[in-house]
Structures are given as structure tokens and as C-alpha cells.
Symmetry: C2
DNA sequence: TTGGTAAATGGGATATTGTTTCATTTAATA
DNA sequence: TATTAAATGAAACAATATCCCATTTACCAA
């Protein structure tokens, strides 16, 4: 596992990273906890939070603070955008070109030092679209 | 106050909206609660949350679910972007042109029905820049 | 202008999400 | 393999948000 100096390679960390890598669903900390607990039933929720934060800080994974109240995590660290279903809260990737130039534009328009950006689309996922169609039929 | 049918014009609602309109700082629900309590000391926190959500749902105000764990609210409903200071959490407006065309691009690239988007820049606010400069001097 | 009525409130309980503490365990390494 | 600091598990705690329900209040019809 890629890591920072003084960061030990524990079983817990390995398995958290492995499980996160298996899914594309941008799980919350609690969802990761559930996934990991199937393999390490005695792991603590604190350990999961601690490690997700640590790995996000060191750039091994991505922390998403998107719509909804919960943080979500993503094993794909390359810059990319997301879409969030307004109805069920599901988060998926949006595979379009990253708009690097808007950082410059934003920097000019503000007194912040701009370090990056994230685009979050909102929409309706296929599943919710289906359900809505079904409901409106009667 | 602009409102939905069956939505009563209560003192609490008016004052919440007035206080939110006074600031450009995108306050959290708790910050709004503090502001409003100066004029209505007996208002409940639940009332503040309830009304902010209600007003956001009806489009009177904007609910921001940006970085950080808390929801933030904005009296300006016209589409615009935000920047969040990675160091202190402050949120400000970024006054650049809204990229309407990327909704189409995103819709083509996914199986969601795209309804909108929001861009959140991350950066360092002037205040934190100053502080960092001061710290690194000795 | 009042009286009826459903919406809204206050305040506390509860739920949800995330963080901290500390005694114990464990990975790294000398 | 003994040492030691980092990491863990478990539970307490903190922060944020929602719910419940008896009481109050805005609105409307007469």
C-alpha cells in the first residue's frame, strides 16, 4: 500500500482500501464499515473513520463532500466529476473532460488563491426514472 | 414573502428570511439560529431547520451542500458558484459565467437525467493567506 | 370580528454522523 | 526476539439534524 512515512501497514487499512477499491458507488463511512465488517467482524467504526480520513489526507483515496450530510469516499483519485441523484442520493461518476481552465478564471474573479474545483451534477438516476414512470401510470 | 400555497406567513419565517438576506456569508443552520435568536429569543432550533428546508424546497432560498459536514444557506437564488477555504471553511461567491452547456455534455456522458450542476472551488481565503505568510516569517 | 381549524411552533427527546479517549494490541526495527 | 510507538477496539462524547406532541397562531368563512 502506498503510504506516508510512519504509516503502518495494518490488516485493517489493507482491507478498508481493498473493499473501497471493489466498488464504484462512492460509499459513506458507514457503508465501508459494513463492507469491511464482513471480513473483520470486530473492527471499530472509529478505525474506519480514522483510516478513511488518513488515506484521504495522504492522497491514497478521495474524500467527497457532496450533497447530503455524509462524507463519501472514492478509490479513484484522478480528478473527475460526479452526479448525485436528487431522489435517492446515489452518487456516480461523470466521465467528461476536466475543465482546467476555469480555475484561472475563478482566480481572476476572486481574492482567493484557487487550488482546484469540483463539479457536482444533480439529476435523476435511471432507477428513479423508472420508478417515477411506473408510478405516474395509474 | 413569496410562498407556496398553504404556507403561512409566520413571524419566525419572516425573520429567518430577513436575517439570511442580511449576510453574504452562507451561514449554517446553527449560525442562522444564532442570528435569529437575537430578535426571537424563544425560537426553537427545529423551527429554524424546518423553515430553512421548507424555503429551500420552494425555491425562496438556496441550500448549499458543499464541503464540510454542514448544510449552508444562501438568500441569493440565482445560479452562481462558490469557493470554500480549505483551511478555515469560509464560503464565498465566485462571480463567473455559469457554464450552462456542460449539463448537455454530462447528460450525453451518463444515463442520468441531468437537472443542474454546481461548481465548488477550493482555495485559500485572503485571511488564511495572511496568517500563513505571518507564520512562515519566523 | 369572531370562532373553527389546520398549520406551525417550542422544547425536549431522539436519531444520525463523526470524533475522542485510553487501555490493550501489534507492526516495524534494532 | 525485545522494544516501542503507532494503531486498534470499545465506549463515551460531540456535533448536526430530525421527530414528536401539546400548545399556539394564522387564515378563512360566516
Amino acid at each position: 500500500m502506498e503510504q506516508l512515512p510512519n504509516m503502518r501497514l495494518t490488516t485493517q487499512r489493507q482491507i478498508i482500501l481493498e473493499e473501497l477499491g471493489k466498488v464504484t458507488s462512492h460509499p459513506t463511512a458507514n457503508e465501508v464499515y459494513d463492507m469491511v465488517r464482513k471480513r473483520l467482524p470486530r473492527i471499530g467504526l472509529g478505525t474506519v473513520y480514522r483510516n478513511l480520513e488518513l488515506m484521504a489526507d495522504s492522497g491514497i483515496i478521495l474524500k467527497l463532500e457532496v450533497g447530503g450530510t455524509q462524507k463519501r469516499f472514492d478509490a479513484t483519485v484522478a480528478p473527475h466529476y460526479h452526479v448525485r441523484c436528487t431522489f435517492c442520493g446515489k452518487v456516480d461518476d461523470i466521465d467528461i473532460e476536466v475543465q482546467n481552465k476555469i480555475n484561472q478564471i475563478a482566480e481572476t474573479a476572486s481574492d482567493y488563491m484557487i487550488l482546484g474545483h469540483h463539479i457536482e451534477f444533480s439529476g435523476m438516476c435511471p432507477r428513479c426514472s423508472e420508478e417515477k414512470k411506473a408510478t405516474s401510470l395509474h
